[in-house]
Symmetry: C2
Subunit: 438 residues, 2 copies
């Protein structure tokens, strides 16, 4: 929301930054470049007044003007000349204590910290409300993509039933290169590390933990219940093979790491991160390289998708800037954006979740085996949508690739257990969920 | 923005609907279904108190409760028990007079009327501001897609340089069927009419006028200058042939009707609607059937895309509902969302606009012709990115297909004029712009 410049004369709002790395630095530059235009459009003039960094002696080459640079973040939060606190330091502590201190003293906070919000989101949103100030966090969920605000505001009246996100750029880059260039997982990971997309220890990305934290925040605001990172089921991409990708391509799918937040008719909720086969005709299939996208299913609005850059200084800084302007304008009005209150979440057990699955099974290459294997699916109530035999590793075995209709995960597990016990089944090499309608 | 239910007790906000067709009916149903949930989330209880329709005797089968149904829309605007006016009647008059009357009497207006806003948008936004009330119009631009609010609010600090939209579902459906099913234009149009996507007179859709009106609104809010429908250059899809589509497919493009709003470094603006070859790897290429999408290019945020349903009762009703909640919450706070003021637009002449082009030229099939034709491009400063010879209609001629680099439209026109004057050129069959970086 923007303030009418004619009804309220331009007012200066002073920002205190906690952290000045990639995102903080991008914000400092954006504020310097865009302050005049923002003042003309909104009536609010943004100024960075204080910045807390670890090493005050380092020259960052940033247009910091008269801003005080300090190594004491608590002093920035407490300073009289800081109206809005921008938390771009990351991690749980001291970010949590600093955010609580800022909100408790009546200062709005803009945060890009997914870890903080995935662990303490609902409590912090309620704390902000209790003190009548904003806690805004667009940059914490999908980088530069305006998604949190449309979900909180445009869709507040909509019955959102499912959100499916490609919200980790590193894994999407790796899977895109495996698909389009035929690279192995190890080759694609090494290139992602060389480009700075992946850390030396890539676990947070490739294990699905980064996407899981973001999915917890999405579920919290989409469904109005307190979901934390610990409530999210994670499966990463380390087991996705070149074979899986080749088969997926042939069958008309792209393998993507998706975060799925669902609410069922009984009010229960499930949040899971896992590789999925996404049909080529689905809009998420076209999300390539390090791009992110969030796909929303609502009862009235139908399907929506929000696409853009999930990381990087410019995009993330742009999202922080949008929130900073919102908080600053609200401050001049004495208003704030509330998320309301959050109920306790009822998690639906993993075993009860619906999923269609792709399964690759290595079986003895002799008559009658297919009937035996198909019979096992049927006995557990898992119906088969398609089956094909593909090239095998050995002469003695055949490789069968199945795609099932939507089934309970427990029934799929029981099918797999029984298949593994059969003499004619040499191995089950892949189990990947298929993104579908349920 | 949502109000804290704890800090403000639930307050009833009464809606007066002007029109009760597909969108109005969907809104009435959504309000009835969602009122409790909306009250819990926002502290505002929505009630439809009055509805103006043409035929009061018709039973619409809607949950209208105690709402007064009348054929006098001016009375709905003036009624003491109407707090927010919802204009879903369409057309220029009486919608314009009613909207002016509502805003002038201090009542917020939610409008789904693209025609009204494309003709009078900037003046109405300023009128709303002058009276300190909201004029919200999410549904007027891209149906159910939350795009206007993210553009107005999330991206208010962003330097948006170009917006490219697929914002007419009818033409996207027709082009998708021509591409994927091999239908002719006439066949696809007939099916679109049978499905109710296209009118008996399809000119507004296939001529690009519907998309042009929406593009004028997008340019106005993206660039802060008053752009009206009359400022938009239109080319429709009626000349797109099955040949063009087949060639596009082979070269790795999808033909789409795009609306392009650009701002150049000198502050000048251009808005045009035309068919374009969209590279397969571009996110807009994957927008199929009657779906819409808006692609935004910003200097800091990079590329963004917003995708969803551009029409239909549910999606459009959902967008209207989001605006109604916003207006209702703002009303309880005495706040409103301003768009600021609008400068006069400086339109960049069509001849000065940049475009890469696809050209299909029928030439005499004899040695030296390609060199002659290529020389004409070079003489006008138009450089060729790719050329191929494809099957021709006759033995005596060859068909050359060119894709140029980005060039001034005037230079492309001069090239075409000179080509037409050559004896060796039998005809120029297609000129379609190629969506690229400039």
């Amino acid at each position: 929301m923007t303030e009418n410049p004619e009804s309220a004369p331009s007012r200066t709002v002073r920002l205190g930054l906690l952290g000045c790395g990639t995102v903080g630095g991008a914000l400092v530059e954006l504020v310097a470049e865009r302050a005049d235009d923002i003042a003309a459009r909104t009536g609010v003039r943004l100024v960075v007044s204080r910045v807390a960094v670890r090493d005050v002696s380092r020259d960052r080459g940033l247009p910091l003007g008269d801003a005080v640079v300090t190594d004491d973040p608590a002093a920035v939060v407490a300073a009289d000349d800081v109206d809005v606190v921008v938390e771009v330091v990351g991690g749980l502590e001291p970010a949590h204590a600093l955010t609580v201190a800022a909100l408790s003293s009546g200062k709005p906070v803009v945060s890009a910290n997914k870890e903080l919000l995935a662990h303490h989101g609902a409590a912090l949103f309620e704390l902000a409300d209790a003190h009548g100030v904003d806690l805004l966090f667009e940059a914490a969920v999908a980088g530069g993509i305006p998604f949190v605000r449309p979900l909180r505001e445009s869709l507040v009246g909509e019955d959102v039933t499912r959100v499916v996100g490609i919200i980790n750029g590193t894994t999407n880059y790796i899977l895109t290169k495996m698909t389009e260039e035929g690279w192995t997982y190890a080759e694609a990971l090494a290139e992602a590390q060389a480009l700075g997309y992946a850390e030396a220890d890539p676990t947070a990305d490739v294990g699905g933990f980064d996407a899981g934290a973001k999915a917890a925040i999405i579920a919290t605001i989409a469904f109005g219940v307190a979901v934390s990172a610990a409530d999210v089921h994670h499966e990463g991409i380390t087991e996705v093979s070149a074979d899986d990708i080749a088969t997926a391509r042939r069958l008309g799918y792209q393998i993507k790491l998706v975060a799925v937040a669902e609410r069922f008719d009984d009010g229960s909720v499930a949040v899971r991160v896992h590789p999925a086969m996404v049909p080529d005709a689905h809009p998420l299939a076209a999300v390539r390289d390090s791009f992110n996208a969030v796909f929303v299913e609502g009862r009235a609005v139908g399907d929506l998708m929000f696409y853009g850059r999930g990381a990087g200084g410019g995009p993330t800084g742009s999202a922080v800037l949008g929130d900073v302007i919102d908080a600053a304008v609200n401050l001049t009005k004495g208003a704030h954006a509330s998320l309301g209150t959050f109920g306790e979440v009822t998690l639906r057990p993993q075993s009860e979740l619906p999923a269609a699955c792709y399964l690759a099974v290595e079986v003895a290459d002799r008559p009658g085996v297919l009937a035996t294997v198909a019979g096992v699916f049927g006995a557990h109530g898992v119906s088969i949508r398609s089956m094909e035999q593909v090239g095998s590793d050995t002469d003695a075995t055949a490789r069968l690739v199945f795609i099932t209709h939507v089934a309970r995960e427990a029934d799929v597990e029981a099918t797999l257990d029984e298949l593994r016990s059969l003499d004619v089944v040499a191995s089950i090499d892949s189990v990947i969920r298929v993104l579908g309608d349920a």
